[in-house]
């Protein structure tokens, strides 16, 4: 790993922090590398990126988010809208289900030892994060339009609400449910094992890597849905105008599919079709993809 890679990785890992906090940390660690005899020595002294990042997050995650807003009379005036960052911690042994539902949000999931939810720039009155009696962790906004400023044209006031999820490695669930209206949900270095998964993306970008799931229901409106990992059992894919890409590990001979393709395209390993109202199918095995795509692109690769 080079200095550049280390800092890049660090910046991603502390993405939930306010920009100023990130800049400070990056400046500090960039200096640290430059002042050390060699990158290797610096890395040796610093330890892992995870450790460095988690120490920073632990200390500064609750920094207050500030928004600069233009007042209506066009007077260049600054007002500050502050929402304290919130931190929720759940006992990983009690979690059976994850139910995430947000209108517009940026979420990054990182691996850790505890299950933590950290927010930034989210109005606590409109935010719900709790575990119910059946072991379901519910993370959602109470109103779908709550983060409407997500799309504001006033760039001075543009502020993106964020959540940092820390997920213990090999988290084993009954159901894994994500509803993302717009924005981004990235879960890349975390292993999630679940009996059932329901992943639903509207206009956003949902990326889940190293997912190991049974029965799966995937819906993608105009957004982008990317999954890597293993999937077994029945897998429903509804892709309206967006893009759905699965990269799975397994024996392709054990999988079958049926696909209804409107104007979009469908790809299953080497089999690739795009077409006007066509049905494709190759039988029905225990592991089966049932695909409907309007104008979207569905690509399934199994190796």
């Amino acid at each position: 790993m080079t200095k550049k890679e280390f800092l890049l990785e660090l910046n991603i890992k502390i993405a939930s922090l306010p920009e100023e906090e990130r800049k400070e940390a990056i400046q500090y660690y960039s200096d640290f590398f430059d002042d050390c005899e060699s990158d290797e020595k610096a890395m040796e002294e610093l330890g892992s990126v995870e450790e460095v990042a988690s120490k920073i997050i632990e200390n500064f995650a609750n920094a207050i988010a500030t928004v600069n807003k233009k007042s209506s009379d066009d007077d260049e005036q600054t007002s500050t809208q502050t929402y304290d960052g919130l931190l929720f911690s759940f006992s990983k042994n009690k979690i059976k289900n994850l139910d995430f539902d947000f209108g517009a949000i940026e979420v990054i999931a990182i691996p850790g030892t505890k299950f933590l939810v950290e927010t930034r720039g989210i109005n606590p009155e409109n935010f719900e994060c709790r575990m119910n009696d059946s072991g379901t962790v519910i993370i959602r906004n109470k109103s779908r339009l709550a983060n409407f400023k997500f799309w504001t044209h006033e760039h001075t006031g543009r502020f993106i609400p964020r959540i940092l999820l820390t997920i213990p490695d090999k988290l084993t669930l009954e159901t894994f449910r994500i509803n993302l209206g717009a924005g981004r949900f990235e879960c890349k270095d975390v292993n999630i094992i679940t009996k059932e998964s329901y992943l639903n993306v509207g206009a956003g970008n949902l990326v889940v890597k190293t997912l190991n799931s049974g029965l799966s229901n995937l819906r993608c409106m105009t957004g982008n849905l990317e999954i890597e990992g293993k999937m077994n059992g029945h897998i429903n894919i509804d892709c309206y105008m967006g893009k759905t890409a699965l990269q799975l590990s397994g024996n392709p001979d054990l999988y079958s599919y049926d696909a209804k393709v409107g104007l979009g395209s469908f790809e299953f390993n080497d089999f690739k079709k795009s077409g006007v109202s066509s049905d494709y199918a190759n039988g029905k095995k225990e592991n089966h993809f049932s695909v409907i795509t309007g104008m979207g692109e569905v690509s399934i690769k199994i190796k």
Partner: protein
């Protein structure tokens, strides 16, 4: 070292190191490490917190074509350091009374 270092003691040592001269991150780390084992990932949050609380200030100095961030102590930082010093001396005395002097008494 067999004794654990509390966060107040770490704050005090960082303040003391910075109070001697304007200094930069890597050097602070090295200086602190001459007296205690502490990981680098622990030190940055300490520096940043002391800075945010107004006990340290930063400034940039050009060095080999880049800006290096320097830290210096503020007047509030000096006051805090002074408090820590006095606390330390009192603490040191009371510990000594039990730990070292007490030992001599037991040997009588």
């Amino acid at each position: 070292m067999v004794f654990t270092v509390g966060s107040a003691l770490l704050d005090a040592i960082v303040l003391a190191v910075v109070s001697k001269e304007g200094t930069y991150g890597y050097k602070i780390t090295q200086d602190v490490r001459t007296v205690m084992e502490v990981s680098e990932s622990t030190l940055y949050p300490v520096l940043r917190r002391l800075q945010k609380d107004g006990y340290l200030e930063t400034y940039d100095v050009e060095c080999n074509g880049r800006n290096r961030r320097y830290y210096k102590i503020t007047s509030n930082g000096m006051i805090l350091l002074d408090t820590y010093r006095r606390e330390w001396i009192a603490y040191q005395k009371s510990i000594d009374q039990i730990l070292t002097v007490g030992d001599i008494i037991n040997n009588d």
